[in-house]
Amino acid sequence: MPTVGVKRDLLFKALGKTYTDEEFDELCFEYGLELDEITSEKEIISREQGDSKASGASDVILYKIDVPANRYDLLCLEGLVRGLQVFKNKLEAPRYRRVSPLSGEPQKLIITEETVAVRPHAVAAVLRNITFTQERYDSFIELQEKLHQNICRKRSLVAIGTHDLDTVSGPFTYTAKPPAEISFKPLNQTKEYTATQLMSLYKTDSHLRHYLHIIEDKPLYPVIYDSNGIVLSMPPIINGDHSKITLKTKNVFVECTATDLTKAKIVLDMMVTMFSEYCSQPFTVEEAEVVYPDGKTCKYPELAYRKEKLSSDFVNRKVGINESTETIARLLTKMCLRSEVTGVGDEIEVEIPPTRSDVIHACDIMEDAAMAYGFNNIPYTTPRTYTVANQFPLNKLTELLRQDLAAAGFTEALNFALCSTEDISDKLGKKISETRAVHIANPKTVEFQVARTTLLPGLLKTLAANRKMPLPLKLFEISDVVLKDDTKDVGARNSRRFCAVYYNKSPGFEVIHGLLDRTMQLLEVKSQRGDGYHIQAAEDSTFFPGRCAEIFVGGKSVGRLGVLHPDVITRFELTMPCSAVEMDIEPFLGHPAEATLTHDVPLHEVIKHHFPSQVPNSRPTSTKTVFGDVSSAAGLKALDDFLADKSYMEGFEATQADTTMFDAIPSAPSSTFSHLLRWYNHVKSFLRERANLPSAKTQFVLEEDDDDDDDMDLFGSDDEEDSAEVEKLKEQRLAEYAAKKSKKPALIAKSSILLDVKPWDDETDMAKMEECVRSVKMEGLLWGQSKMVPVGYGIKKLQIGCVVEDEKVGTDLLEEAITAFEEYVQSVDVAAFNKI
């Protein structure tokens, strides 16, 4: 937020009123400003450089006022005063006018092609017959600086140059040249320098060195010459000394060079609207002509007044107030947005002046109305939004676990997600390349080189910082680490971890192991191989050899625990043995019944939205209804009669028929139509849920006759053709899809069957029997492994597996085929049947 410093007494003089600090603070608050500090030059110097330097400095009271970042029109005393005076109804917002010079041609700024590669845009204007005083001059310079720092993005987007027009002569040329070929005496220097020399001269300049990078490595530097070859400026670095502005300057040539034309126009408008106040013809600005390389010309400043129309209902509805159209127009005018009631319904025409480049949408106008109304005068209301709350399941699990881990005697730590590369690699005895770490491009210190990939270093650092605390120290943290992951749109993802450390005179592996067991108990995972959890010896350079184990849950590794390697302990400036556990907790989430939110977004839109380039007027333009034109008294009368014995247009509840009719009526009906007015106010109360109302059965509101209809008929109905084409395309697609579907091989359902084939007695030749069984051949039958299983009394049965295609081979068929070998087979049973 930019801060503007103004002299208090000067400000009050301009405002024509003296305020106490509190009163002025209050005024600022209302207007969206903030009286940040009350100080003086003396105070500032003594604070920054010491009392000795401050002696002799001015002790005139300064107000430091914070201005919203998009209000460039409030960045100087002139603008602030104008804004506040209009707000307080003491002044009518001035109209800024662009005028042609009284005599002769306008000043010309010719842009050459060379500028394209470095700084392609330029705009210019002239302030004619201006009167400077020391204060005005200071403010003029200060505004340039404020604009440079804010909208101009430290001169990278736009740079402003102001010149004493009487010292130079047009036409001016804006070109770009190799730095060695540019030579001039820069502002406040005594001799000439080449651009190359200047760049090295300003390397040490506390102010200018910040701008050098903008053009430094370009082959050509931008430069503006007058018709005699005098350098006006070398944007965005420095002006020439020749055309320097002084208190005596009468005519000012303002140029803005830019990489962003929109911003250049805004900046130029700001400069001239703010200071044209001091011209002999206040608030007029003399135009200048900019000639482009292609010969095209443009006149600047634009000083464009744009008109927007909106309804007072829109403002009332968005703000939650109920003011008349006139009142809202009056409120907007207070905000320098001259507004008029057009008389068409509740429409207001708002004029956006060139000083209000921040107003780009109706919502900006609505905000100004709310500000003028006073935010703190708006009544509080409670929306009737009905929703059911859900917790993010991962956070819910985390919250529950944290509680019980603390109950298990461990204290929660909270460490940074960012750390040094060393913390997650060297200090843990790992290579950074193994870590999948996300690296930060612009860390200010080593503490912010990477996003952590493990919670362990943070806990070890917490131990180190608390070595004086009584032992043992038992800490835990459940938090996110960040890992690279190509499957994510951004190439990285968070992973929620649980980590705990035990620090004491003995390593206490059993304590950490016990905590793991307790955690698993909390998570309802049993200690067993297979679908439970178990730990198994592992090698890990962070841990003491032979003292590390990997944690497996359902056969998958989720983390590790063990006694830390003495080198790791030492590197974290610890002296005692320490054991630790770290594991993922996301595998324990389970499957919540509620649909889970994720931050992954669909990459292709399923729902096709209608995106008009302009928001359509929320009101239908048609006022024609079955009752006649409701913008006329006759139409309203007919409707009033209709509603005399009815609550709603249709049936016994509000429907879309009511809202459509409501929209058709331009403004609230007069009280002469009492039935209509009652209905109108009643329907108005449904506005919030209007979209949810049942649809209409009857069409009461008629389409506006379209004069173009006849012309359209010449070409037949485009609409129909369109829809026919769409229909055709759709059919075609469906056909293609069906074809594709039929070609695709249907999934073949298969089953694996285990058969028990029992022989007649112990003398049956089992080998022969198996041979017989295997001799059964069918389409879709594949025999598998077999074995002899003792049944008793020396009798064995043949257990044989097979895979069958369900559609072709049934168990009945199989049994029949096998029992056919009567001499060997006594019976066949299906021992197991599994769908594959």
Binding site: F29, E30, G32, D260, R306, R317, K318, V319, I360, H361, C363, M366, E367, A370, M371, F375, N376, I378, P379, Y380, T381, T385, Y386, T387, A389, F392, Q403, A408, G409, T411, E412, L414, N415, F416, A417, V438, A441, N442, P443, E447, F448, A464, F476, V490, G491, R493, R496, L597, H599, V601, P602, H604, E605, I607, P612, S613, Q614, V615, S618, A691
Partner: protein
């Protein structure tokens, strides 16, 4: 004499005595050290109302070791005098005596002796008076006999200065019978035991009184982190208000979702390396919903949906840059976009409390990462008054009822309001959060219906926590430099009180 024996002896003497006994006197009669007797008195006192003892203290003068020597053998100077024969003594001989040095100078100043420095064979000492009176010894003898009162205060002090006398305070007890006096001792029980309960003996026993002034034994337990305790409360508040928690577990975000989708222009200062952490690996995001991306590009560079747009050259390269998210609103943007993809719009209330990252200058209250609390409501026809109403309800649950709103600026909300609350302690209005209505330029390209308004607010978690727990330096709260004692001692978190 055994301890128990001493106690019984003492009790019998108290029984026999008229009125009471003096501990000092009793000790000398019984021939035990006074301290031992005092110990016995203390242990008897612990038995309720058995005896009562009144502390008495008396001062008296006592000879020091040196003083006792002098009382026996005379003062050093007197001994010097008497050791000098009439024919004198060489000074060197005198100095060999134990009292020589001290006695010599004192005897000289008393003018009892003289030195002949010219004497052949070295300096020699002679008596200079016939008789002396050893006043020091006399005075000390007086003290030794207990007739201290005959000495003047000045004299006593001088002897004290010479370390011959010392003033001793003697504390003794005047012991009398208590209301429950008895010569037999029944030792009171310290604690109730299972045996006493089983055999009922507790009924007859006397129990030692507890000292309720002392602190109890600290329980052996773990502790939750204060910031997380406050986070839990904020989550609770949102859940009470029917807000659903957003999935904010994605610290790495593309500039697209963090800025562009929020209608924050690409040249906005917040997108500078000074304020935002950019990622070098993985440097770029590679997947976007392309149709939506086109609409975002259009609204920035050309405008639309009733907006003038920013009218600049919007570049996908800028949107692709990966960063550490600077606000959780990036996730809100994703959620609102997904909401817009629903077949039919349904109102939602969302919240999140999670980490955000700013590449800012660090100080006592600013860290590079902090927790942002955010609430979002999307419904048809919401008003600014609704936002204020919800904020009022939200802050009431935090114990803040006096609110005031200041117009502010934020690239993606319009109107934007800073929320101020009246601080009773500071007697002024302080900022407690930011709020606003999301701009149509953000919502309409997502595909949300035109009559849907989205209101939102945010605040930091650290600030209320620091105020709540009275912490001035944020590093003591967050990060490894945390003061664990503070974590151990932290109370439960009740925000409303």
């Amino acid at each position: 004499m055994s301890d128990a024996g001493l106690l019984e002896t003492l009790l019998r003497r108290i029984e026999a005595a008229d009125g009471g006994v003096d501990s000092l006197e009793t000790a000398s009669i019984l021939g035990v050290d006074h301290q031992v007797l005092v110990g016995a008195v203390k242990s008897l006192l612990a038995l309720e109302d058995l005896i009562s003892a009144e502390l008495r203290s008396s001062k008296h003068w006592e000879l020091s070791g040196e003083g006792t020597e002098i009382a026996e053998q005379g003062s050093h100077e007197a001994r010097v005098f008497s050791s000098i024969p009439p024919e004198g003594l060489p000074q060197s001989e005198l100095m060999k005596l134990s009292f020589g040095k001290i006695g010599f100078s004192k005897a000289m100043s008393n003018k009892w002796i003289k030195v002949d420095k010219t004497h052949e064979g070295g300096p020699r000492i002679f008596r200079s008076v016939e008789n002396i009176e050893d006043q020091v010894r006399d005075k000390l003898l007086l003290v030794q006999k207990g007739n201290t009162s005959q000495l003047e205060e000045k004299e006593k002090n001088e002897l004290k200065k010479r370390k011959l006398l010392s003033e001793v305070t003697v504390k003794s007890y005047w012991i009398t019978k208590g209301s429950c006096f008895s010569t037999t001792i029944t030792k009171p029980e310290t604690e109730l035991t299972p045996e006493m309960i089983a055999n009922g003996s507790w009924k007859e026993k006397k129990f030692k009184p507890y000292n309720f002034e002392a602190l109890g034994v600290a329980p052996d337990c773990g502790h939750l982190h204060p910031l997380m305790k406050v986070r839990t409360q904020f989550r609770q508040i949102f859940l009470e208000m029917g807000f659903t928690e957003m999935p904010t577990n994605n610290f790495i975000e593309s500039s697209f979702w963090n800025f562009d989708s929020l209608f924050q222009p690409q040249q906005h200062p917040a997108r500078d390396a000074h304020d935002t952490f950019f990622i070098s690996d993985p440097a770029l995001a590679h997947e976007f919903p392309l149709e939506y991306l086109e609409r975002v590009k259009k609204i920035h560079s050309e405008g639309g949906y009733g907006s003038q747009g920013y009218k600049y050259d919007w570049k996908i390269e800028e949107a692709q840059k990966n960063i550490l998210r600077t606000h959780t609103t990036a996730v809100s943007a994703r959620m609102l976009y997904k909401l817009a993809q629903q077949e039919k719009f349904t109102p939602v209330k969302y919240f999140s409390i999670d980490r955000v990252f700013r590449n800012e200058t660090l100080d006592a209250t600013h860290l590079a990462e902090f927790h942002q609390i955010e609430g979002v409501v999307a419904d048809r026809g919401l008003t600014l008054g609704d936002l204020m109403g919800i904020l009022h309800q939200f802050f009431t649950k935090l114990g803040i009822t006096k609110l005031r709103f200041k117009p502010a600026y934020n690239p993606y909300t319009e109107p934007s309001m800073e929320v101020f609350s009246y601080h009773e302690g500071l007697k002024k209005w302080v900022e407690v959060g930011n709020s606003g209505v999301f701009r149509p330029e953000m919502l309409l390209p997502m595909g949300l219906p035109e009559d849907v308004t989205v209101i939102a607010w945010g605040l930091s978690l650290e600030r209320p926590t620091m105020i709540k727990y009275g912490i001035n330096n944020i590093r003591e709260l967050v990060g490894h430099k945390v003061n664990l004692q503070m974590v151990y001692d932290g109370p439960i978190c009740r925000l409303e009180s």
